[in-house]
């Protein structure tokens, strides 16, 4: 099994302009608005956001806290619904999809990586990585195991399969979370501040892993980050301020 971490640094990076010209859009947001309403306050989290992300693109989203980055990621990840606007995945609008259809789309097309890893502490590393496949029909126990082993091998954690999250360092936990995202073989990875809880060395390691995935596997990655340096390693940087795209 190819180890992404080992090879990520040697592959050339495609430019955003090249991709825009050749690749088809995988995510399209049109006039997306998200308003949180309570009895007394109305908060606009996203204001008429238009965004197209092409297949194989690595996009980073930056902005101050509370500017709507995570809300945007939730909407792209079909975890939240916009107040208005259209989301298209592979050219198909998803607003009319049922809970079951949205769950299936999330399971098959999207992999999530979170700042706080979101590993289940009572499950071993292997069981954690198997999780997305558990919700996919037609994948048997043996296949689940094999794909989970393969994903862990990709992130260089094949020796830690029987460990529990509490026995791992922060960087290792995030690699497990990436392996979990990879196990389902998704077209898109949505990473919400994946290095936010890590020191700079670990952060670099995770960033290299994501870059390797994008270059070698052609995985589309949308990453929310506060780290300017890491954001500049991606093909496109989108800046947000007060719920609006400013760049």
């Amino acid at each position: 099994m190819e180890n992404i971490l080992a090879q990520s640094a040697v592959r050339p990076q495609a430019t955003a302009a090249t991709l825009a010209a050749t690749a088809q859009p995988v995510i399209q947001l049109r006039d997306i608005e998200k308003v949180y309403q309570t009895k007394t306050i109305e908060t606009v989290a996203l204001n008429r956001v238009n965004l197209t992300i092409h297949k194989g693109e690595f996009v980073s989203i930056m902005g101050p806290s509370g500017c709507g980055k995570s809300t945007l990621l939730s909407i792209i990840g079909l975890l939240d619904e916009p107040t208005s606007g259209v989301i298209e995945l592979d050219g198909r609008p998803v607003q009319s999809y049922s809970d079951k259809e949205l769950a299936a789309l999330r399971n098959q097309k999207i992999g999530f990586v979170f700042q706080s890893y979101h590993l289940i502490n009572d499950l071993s590393v292997l069981d954690n990585v198997e999780l997305p496949l558990l919700y996919r029909s037609g994948v048997g126990g043996r296949e689940r195991r094999e794909r989970a082993y393969a994903a862990l091998d990709k992130v260089g954690l094949s020796a830690r399969t029987n460990h529990f999250p509490s026995q791992l360092s922060g960087g290792q936990r995030q690699r497990v979370a990436i392996a979990r995202a990879l196990a389902g073989n998704p077209e898109i990875i949505l990473a919400d501040e994946p290095t936010g809880n890590l020191d700079s060395v670990m952060g670099e390691e995770i960033m290299d892993l994501l870059l390797g995935l994008n270059r070698q596997e052609g995985t589309t990655i949308v990453m929310v980050t506060h780290d300017e340096q890491q954001a500049h390693k991606t093909q496109r940087l989108i800046r947000f301020f007060d719920g609006s795209q400013v760049q």
């Binding site: 769950a103 999530f112 997305p132 919700y135 389902g184």
Partner: protein
């Protein structure tokens, strides 16, 4: 998914231990309550062995009158039998059906076989006409027994099986433990559950007593079978006759139906009390389970969000929480069943095996229903948690 649930529960065994222990204890309480209910129902379904309808019980008390008590009683029986509306009269011991009196002994022997604890009744030739016992082998007492060398007895099937196994009981001679007395079985009746409607079919033996001049005076209870529909008019008529024949003996009358109701009320009171205590306990357990599940879900919101993100539907989340609860229940019930099965193996209450099996099944069913009901609402709540919100919980 089932394997995943078991893995999750096993890895959380410390956290789930108290919950499992609570389910185990609840199962055990339910098992004991079920055992009581099933056993009573099992007994209730057994043949009574006699017909209590239209039977009146007269208790006569001669008081200070010591003159020719047997002769007076004999005349009284004859007078009552001759009364229109009376079908039959029997003179018997005080342990009549649904009375609070009983006589039992284990003195009977057949060869080396010792009898179980046996309820003993005094009976005359007419009793079978009054109480309608169903004779399944041999016959009831009659004049042929006047010349018997051993005291004639009629036993129930329970006694016959315990003493003679597959052999025919009729003609067998029983002795007492000192071999000083002998009884000969002349007939076998199907059953005789006279204590109350929920009484077990215990071994029973009827010993023939007739109102001869040589007979010992002791019994002063008369059971009278009357024509269906007889009421207060006949009752007054019979009481007047008793007064007239006995010249002032005290007499009181009850129907067996009234005695049955009285006994039932007394039997049911502790059962209802026990049922209430059991019900209250189960309610507490249910509230406890409910609380634990609410807490569990509030603690696991981030996990719920994660699972939704990874492809679980709302219904899938609900099923998972319900499934986890059922796995915990299965483990608790397995422990409870291991304890419960010791009862029949060790013969603790001496009940039939099918009663234990039914009680275990009932308790299992109840505890699963209870946990499923308690888990339903929290699981639905878990399903309704918004994934984006849940993911922000940590």
């Amino acid at each position: 998914m089932i394997r995943h649930l078991f893995t999750l529960i096993w890895n959380r065994k410390r956290a789930n231990f108290l919950l499992m222990a609570e389910i185990l204890l609840s199962f055990f309480v339910l098992f004991v309550v079920s055992l009581l209910l099933v056993n009573n129902y099992h007994n209730y379904r057994q043949p009574k062995g006699f017909a209590p309808d239209n039977v009146w019980e007269f208790n006569v008390d001669p008081g200070q009158d010591t003159v020719d008590r047997k002769g007076t009683l004999r005349r009284l029986v004859q007078e009552l039998q001759a009364t229109p509306g009376v079908a039959a009269v029997t003179w018997t011991s005080s342990n009549t059906p649904y009375s609070f009196s009983n006589m039992n002994t284990d003195q009977y022997r057949y060869k080396d076989q010792k009898a179980p604890l046996t309820e003993v009744y005094d009976a005359d030739d007419e009793m079978v006409r009054v109480l309608g016992q169903k004779v399944v082998a041999g016959r009831w007492f009659d004049r042929r027994d006047d010349a018997a060398t051993h005291t004639p007895v009629v036993v129930n099937q329970k006694f016959a099986e315990a003493m003679f196994g597959q052999e025919s009981a009729v003609g067998k001679v029983l002795t007492d433990d000192k071999r000083t007395r002998q009884w000969q079985v002349v007939g076998v009746i199907e059953a005789y559950r006279s204590g109350n409607d929920f009484a077990a079919n215990e071994a029973a033996l009827f010993e023939r007593h007739v109102l001869q001049d040589t007979a010992q005076y002791g019994n002063n209870t008369l059971l009278v079978r009357v024509q269906p529909g007889s009421g207060a008019v006949l009752e007054q008529q019979l009481v007047r006759k008793i007064k007239a024949v006995t010249k002032g003996w005290d007499a009181n009358v009850n129907t067996l139906a009234e005695n049955r109701q009285d006994k039932l009320r007394i039997m049911l009171t502790p059962l209802v009390a026990l049922g209430l205590v059991g019900g209250f306990l189960i309610l507490n357990v249910a509230l406890g389970l409910f609380g634990v599940l609410w807490y569990n879900i509030s603690q696991r919101k981030a996990e719920i969000g994660l699972r939704r993100a990874l492809g679980a539907t709302g219904r899938g989340i609900s099923r998972q929480f319900l499934g986890e609860m059922l796995v915990v229940t299965t483990l608790g019930v397995t422990g409870g069943l291991l304890l419960a099965v010791q009862f029949p193996l060790l013969g603790v209450f001496g009940l039939p095996p099918q009663v234990y099996a039914l009680a275990m099944s009932l308790a299992t069913l109840l505890i699963f229903a209870l946990t499923a009901i308690c888990a339903l609402q929290p699981s639905r709540t878990a399903a309704g948690i918004h994934p984006a919100v849940a993911l922000r919980e940590e």
